[in-house]
């Protein structure tokens, strides 16, 4: 095709500039809307620029001009061909309806996360029963290395004074650590789920080992009083993280699905974000409870009260995740 380039540019330039202006306007607004006339005009400009791009594509010297037209056509293409539904983010609605609904939609992944953690717990408990010395390997945390009786005696003596003036800090440490664990569990879904499965199993191992250690040491009530207030939120939050990682892994693997992998991933993106956000919120609550309540033991706070608090929380969480947002 032979093209009078000077004339081509001269006639095309006003349209390209108009398209660019429209694109700048559209891109500067998160939720833009146009009238029918504006839409028609915008679409017309896009078609014009596309046709010009087709003409200029074969021209030797016009690499820059082609790149310029490609750039505005690609931007216009993104605006015109986007068909995904856009919903305005409403925080309250997201927490009270979208998160629990999404949770229920992927409840099988949650059940699998629970099963993996229980399997890990059984393994941890068994390992502790067979080889008590394994405690130092299974529980690599300083606070858990002493015997349960010693720990309880120390906590009674301290009466939570070790955290005086540091509760905010301790709470923040817990939130940061737990959020990192949950987010890593989610991200490891990209390893086709192997990483997520490993983290869930390992968490279970620690939980099972700690539980057996305290039960055998005759400190079951202390354990419940210590773990329940924050654990009934924190452990499900990690499990929701695992659920998210497994949903991601399932989309990656796509057993029996005829849909392409990018499409499968695209289909679960919003759910992944919702579940991850829900898990993060739960961990914020768990961090506050752990710092401000869980670390206080008898005689400061009776165990019965802490256990009751934990049970109420568990009941409310169950009710929330199973019922909230139901139509």
């Amino acid at each position: 095709m032979i093209l009078d380039l000077a004339r081509f540019v001269e006639t095309g330039r006003p349209h390209w500039t108009a398209l660019e202006r429209a694109l700048d306007w559209l891109e500067s607004r998160p939720d833009p809307s146009m009238s029918l006339e504006e839409l028609e005009r915008f679409h017309g400009l896009y078609q014009r620029a596309s046709a010009d791009l087709a003409k200029v594509s074969a021209l030797a010297s016009e690499g820059e001009l082609r790149r310029y037209l490609e750039w505005i056509v690609s931007r216009a293409y993104a605006e015109i061909h986007e068909a995904r539904e856009r919903r305005k983010f409403r925080p309250w609605r997201w927490i009270t309806a979208e998160f629990p609904r999404t949770f229920r939609r992927h409840v099988r992944a949650f059940q699998l996360a629970v099963a993996l953690t229980l399997l890990g717990s059984a393994f941890g408990a068994l390992a502790m029963r067979i080889d008590p010395e394994a405690k130092y390997v299974l529980m690599p945390f300083e606070g858990l290395q002493t015997s349960p009786a010693q720990r309880v005696a120390r906590e009674r003596e301290l009466q939570g004074k070790q955290l005086a003036g540091k509760k905010g800090r301790f709470s923040a440490e817990l939130m940061t650590h737990n959020t990192q664990v949950a987010l890593t569990t989610i991200a490891l879904g990209m390893t086709f789920g192997f990483g997520t499965v490993a983290v869930l199993f390992y968490n279970g191992v620690i939980l099972g080992a700690v539980a057996l250690d305290y039960i055998r040491g005759g400190q079951a009530v202390f354990l419940l009083g210590w773990l329940l207030p924050h654990g009934v939120i924190e452990i499900p939050a990690i499990l929701v993280g695992g659920q998210t990682g497994l949903v991601l892994a399932y989309a990656l693997i796509g057993w029996g699905s005829r849909v392409s992998r990018p499409d499968r991933l695209r289909a679960v993106l919003r759910d992944l974000v919702t579940l991850a956000g829900g898990a993060a919120l739960m961990l914020v609550w768990a961090g506050i409870v752990e710092a401000f309540l869980s670390q206080y033991h008898e005689p400061v706070i009776p165990y019965g009260m802490k256990i009751a608090f934990g049970l109420v929380e568990a009941a409310l969480l169950t009710l929330f995740l199973s019922r909230a947002g139901s139509k």
Partner: protein, 261 residues
């Protein structure tokens, strides 16, 4: 070249456009800039807000971690896939299908940093970026995004190499048009670069480069001998470049490209 260096999208209207993909090193550099900005911003906020922090330093740290994700996600979404580092290096995160970047894509891409950063210095992400077809790290693969370059669209300063001498090749409009049609964009660019850098070439190499280029261009448009007989190879290439890059109304093009940059 296209498969590896550019994301090619074919629209339903049958138009094809390509977006040049960013390499792992420019992306790493953008990340380093972003980290530096975050550190500077963090230390600034620490100094300004320290007296106001009732709950202590670590709560501030935790809020900073959460704040980083919220702000960087929000900023990347509002800036259409750009952070400070990406803006400076003219990189942009875009949807792998050329569509609008969704907030959920931005968040998932950022979440996957926990894996991409493993075991250290983004090794997993870097390897994935090198091995994947569209230079995607795991976060990009999960979110369905790619990072593209948005090169500055400016025309070279032709006046410094072309001047205002008579150009016998431009006289014959039919052959000039044929030359423009037959020359590939890559060869046109090579000829232009050769002229721009001619003083950096050794005399022997300079003769050889322009000899080969002139020989190539002679095969594309059969100019009559009287139009080219007095021209050296370098002058011939110079005239060809003028035909290719400088049509009759050159001011029109320059201003169009300037508005796109």
């Amino acid at each position: 070249m296209r498969n590896r260096d550019a994301l090619v999208i074919r629209t339903p209207e049958g138009i094809e456009f390509s977006l040049p993909l960013a390499g792992p090193f420019s992306r790493m550099l953008a990340l380093v800039i972003d980290i530096a900005v975050i550190i500077m911003l963090g230390s600034f906020l620490e100094k300004v807000l320290a007296p106001l922090l009732v709950f202590g330093q670590d709560l501030a740290d935790a809020l900073a971690v959460i704040g980083y994700f919220v702000i960087s996600d929000l900023q990347r979404w509002r800036w259409r896939g750009q952070t400070v580092g990406k803006r400076l290096l003219r990189l942009r995160v875009v949807d792998a299908r050329g569509l609008r970047l969704e907030p959920s894509q931005v968040v998932v891409r950022n979440l996957m940093r926990f894996v991409d950063a493993l075991p250290l210095l983004y090794l997993v992400g870097g390897v994935a970026c090198v091995l994947s077809r569209y230079r995607q790290r795991l976060g990009d693969l999960a979110a369905g995004t790619v990072v593209v370059r948005t090169p500055k669209l400016v025309r070279p300063d032709l006046d410094q190499i072309l001047g205002s001498k008579y150009n016998s090749l431009a006289e014959d409009r039919r052959l000039a048009a044929r030359l423009r049609q037959k020359t590939s964009p890559a060869i046109a660019r090579v000829a232009l670069e050769a002229l721009l850098r001619r003083d950096q070439l050794e005399p022997g190499a300079r003769l050889q480069v322009f000899n080969e280029l002139a020989a190539h261009f002679r095969t594309l448009a059969p100019y009559p001998p009287d139009a080219i007989e007095q021209l050296s190879d370098e002058q011939y290439v110079r005239n060809v470049v003028e035909v290719l890059y400088r049509p009759a109304d050159r001011s029109a093009q320059v201003s169009v490209l300037a508005s796109g940059s």
